[in-house]
Symmetry: C2
Subunit: 115 residues, 2 copies
Amino acid sequence: MQEKCERVDSKQTADLLQNIPDSDTITKMAAVFQALQSDTRLKILFLLRQKEMCVCELEQALDVTQSAVSHSLRTLRQLDLVRVRREGKFTIYYIADEHVRTLIEMCLEHVEEKA
Amino acid sequence: MQEKCERVDSKQTADLLQNIPDSDTITKMAAVFQALQSDTRLKILFLLRQKEMCVCELEQALDVTQSAVSHSLRTLRQLDLVRVRREGKFTIYYIADEHVRTLIEMCLEHVEEKA
DNA sequence: TAAATACATGAACAACTGTTCATTTGTTCA
DNA sequence: TGAACAAATGAACAGTTGTTCATGTATTTA
């Protein structure tokens, strides 16, 4: 590794790099944030935060097609941000765990602070 | 609002909708998550979490062009996820506040839990 | 003041995302 | 069993993003 500017200390940089999560973990994190980056999916999470809901309920609340809701839920489900339970002909979705709640709350606080 | 399925209670739905952040706030949150959704920007934050750094240092650590680092930092800066300080010819970047640290830590815990 | 260094910015292009449409799968109940 | 309802999925298209290239601006120092 060659120095780029006088502030760079290659040894220290290598050290700092060792203390960041591995590429695989970073990519998984990016996928989680990517899932949280859509208005529709955020609204879904804010709704589910209050009450578990079936796809129909979300569809009606959000004013997008059933297909769009379903696709969004799939993304959230695959990353374990929401979970599913079958109840007769309904598929009930709910927030997966406290991490997810904290994530959206931190972000909310962050943006509200600026307003 | 017309009922879509027997589980839907329009009144309650309207109520739940009132308790989610307004569209403007949702969009700002989406922008924040959007900024956190790139591998490069996440790596930048994990580096800055350990030590404030100038652009050169980040460029060397990340193995992408100076331009890419600069563009990434701009995105993070505009959302107040990182802040800047001028020091002579160097521009020093650092994590904006605790919300940002908590955000990436929650996400890290979430993805590490599954591994 | 001129050259070098540090950083920012605009354009452009490939890659990716979110939505809708059309269709399929699974469940209930008459 | 078959009609109706709930949900998932694949394709396709417009819109968006991240990167590099080329260039511009600001600061330092010789």
